[in-house]
């Protein structure tokens, strides 16, 4: 079987797994929900059944809590996975990840400032403002971090991967200090918000928020997927990609802005959820190879499913309480990262 047909088969399989994880995520949790409840609700939405009926409490749980949460998980997971895949292409390094080059920590600082600022305002403003202020400041933080890493690591001769990665470490340290200051000046409520948000959670999902971010995040993913051919050429090297007729400068700027935007919004709505951008493209590459025309789409599908499953684990493992999802992804992702480093170590020697 050629790689191309294997890629298509893999993507078809992922596209079937995604709805299954949605159903799983909707039916599992503190309040039991049966498949029948769900089907009934589905009929109601499609206009086949009346509003009345048994199981309305379950339906409320689905409509108000589980479904928005599940959709948010899919959006955040797929966006982080696509951004991770694109960044690995940009840096020509399969270990690059938004959290490694400082984009996530920059975005987190921006979002943290947003949370504290919003916390200082009267309660009436809070709900409306938070939806826009925090993501916007997170994007600014992520964008600022990316721009800084890019400026430090790039000369007229091109960009140096090593310098950019080191700059990412420096930005991570700076953002850490900034977060420390925020922790210091915040009151009890803010501190609680800040701490829980930092650990990462999909629990805050609302329809209002989803309506804002669904088109933006899908747009970012589609735009990144459209850069696939340029990313493939870029893997050969910047000069080689230029010799193949690609406008590399434009491509790099597009990739940097889009990934900063994607990661910034993801961080603002769900906190620090690490390793998705690293693990998912890696699993895909191992299965169907590095061709970005398939890699990015497959990463989006797998990223959505995996983060949703991680959220299910986070909800059931310590019921009735729940674990922050960032802890779950870190527990699964960090050993994976270490095993990758181990392999690289053996290869490079």
């Amino acid at each position: 079987m050629t790689r191309e047909s294997r890629a298509r088969l893999f993507m078809a399989a992922l596209a079937m797994i995604l709805p299954a994880t949605i159903v799983l995520s909707i039916s599992i949790g503190a309040v039991p929900v049966s498949l029948a409840d769900f089907l009934q609700l589905l009929q109601k939405w499609l206009g086949f059944a009346s509003d009345e009926g048994a199981g309305s409490q379950s339906q409320m749980v689905i409509e108000v809590i589980r479904l928005p949460r599940t959709l948010l998980g899919i959006l955040v997971g797929s966006t982080l996975a696509v951004c991770g895949g694109a960044m690995q292409g940009l840096f020509r390094n399969p270990l690059a990840d938004p959290s490694i080059i400082g984009v996530s920590s920059g975005a987190a600082l921006g979002a943290g400032v947003g949370i504290i600022l919003v916390g200082m305002l009267p309660v009436a403003f809070v709900l409306t403002l938070q939806i826009y202020t925090v993501p916007f400041l997170a994007f600014l933080g992520g964008f600022g971090a990316t721009l800084l890493v890019y400026k430090i690591g790039t000369t007229s001769h091109g960009s140096s991967v090593a310098t950019m990665l080191l700059a990412g470490i420096a930005i991570g340290a700076l953002s850490g200090a900034g977060m420390g200051i925020l922790t210091y000046i915040s009151d009890d409520t803010m501190l609680r918000n800040l701490t829980f948000w930092q650990m990462g959670s999909l629990g805050g999902a609302t329809w209002k928020q989803l309506l804002v971010i669904i088109p933006i995040m899908l747009g970012i993913q589609l735009f990144l997927i459209a850069q696939a051919k340029g990313l493939n050429a870029l893997l050969l090297g910047e000069s080689e990609a230029r010799h193949l007729g690609f406008n590399i400068q434009n491509l790099k700027v597009r990739l940097i802005i889009l990934t900063a935007l994607g990661v910034g919004i993801a961080v603002s709505v769900s906190g620090m959820i690490g390793f998705v951008g690293l693990v998912v493209p890696h699993l895909v590459r191992m299965t169907i190879g590095p061709d970005h025309r398939y890699l990015l789409t497959a990463s989006a599908l797998l990223g959505g499913s995996l983060l949703t499953l991680a959220d299910v684990i986070a909800r059931v493992i310590v019921t009735p309480a729940e674990l922050p999802i960032g802890i779950v992804t870190a527990l699964l992702g960090a050993p994976f990262f270490m095993s990758l480093l181990w392999q690289q170590r053996n290869r490079i020697g």
């Binding site: 790689r3 020509r92 050969l236 000069s239 230029r242 010799h243 193949l244 007729g245 590459r285 590095p290």
Partner: protein, 259 residues
């Protein structure tokens, strides 16, 4: 004029004069070899020709138009460039790597696959087609990249005659494949391609190139047919080697032997 016209190119970097007033031509149908010791400015000259480095003065014309005025996607259909080495470290298959060479071209995927097959056969690497690129030896990688550059300019586009630039294409190859690579360069020249190749091996240059350009200390020191450039005095003066020069018993080209 058609082909590559390097005109009075000078490049300074800080206090170093990397290139000083270098001029030469490469017309469709000929192979021009650039020779010179390490640090002579060969790679700098190459980077100026490929529009990666802007010269402080002088110009590089491609079919009469300065290279930097060509639209990148137009130029990619005319100019194929093989760098000394590649930093590719993602697990593409050999076939996928070569297929990347077709990205500037808008031909059907069946057509592209056919070209990829022919190019891989030409560089004696078709048997590697499904191998993971990252597991190849240095010489195999070099041949795969040669195939990638060849498919990029496989047929003559409407923009004009093609240009093939090879930077030390034989550095990692065994003798049989060194000759094969230069025979391919000659074959492309026969089909109206202008070939410019950087070489260290004087005898390969003598056997396969129509003209030699000898660089030293950033200056063009000698330029012309092999028998004119490969002389005992010039090689002693510029490359600091004592040599005997004999005519090749079959084709009469100069053969350089260390004394």
């Amino acid at each position: 004029m058609d082909g590559l016209d390097v005109k009075n190119v000078s490049v300074r970097l800080g206090n170093h004069q990397l290139l000083e007033d270098v001029s030469f031509l490469a017309e469709p149908g000929e192979v021009v070899a650039i020779l010179g010791p390490n640090g002579a400015g060969k790679t700098t000259l190459f980077r100026v020709i490929t529009d990666e480095l802007k010269p402080d003065s002088g110009n590089v014309l491609l079919h009469g138009t300065p290279v930097q005025y060509w639209a990148p996607e137009q130029r990619a259909q005319v100019v194929g460039i093989l760098p000394q080495s590649s930093s590719l470290n993602f697990p593409f298959t050999v076939q996928e790597v070569v297929l990347l060479g077709r990205s500037p071209c808008s031909t059907s995927s069946e057509q592209n696959d056919q070209y990829v097959k022919e190019a891989l056969e030409k560089v004696d690497a078709w048997h590697l087609q499904d191998r993971n690129y990252t597991t190849l030896s240095g010489g195999e990688k070099q041949r795969v990249h040669l195939a990638r550059v060849l498919v990029q300019i496989w047929t003559e586009p409407e923009q004009g005659a093609r240009l093939l630039l090879l930077d030390e294409p034989t550095s990692a190859l065994d003798p049989a494949h060194q000759h094969q690579t230069l025979r391919i360069a000659r074959e492309f020249a026969r089909h109206r391609v202008a070939v410019v190749v950087i070489l260290h091996d004087l005898n390969l240059a003598s056997q396969y190139a129509d003209r030699l350009v000898l660089l030293s200390k950033g200056r063009l020191q000698a330029h012309g047919k092999p028998e004119k450039v490969l002389t005992k005095e010039l090689l002693k003066q510029l490359l600091d080697i004592d040599v005997c020069i004999l005519p090749h018993p079959v084709n009469g080209n100069p053969v350089v032997l260390a004394e």
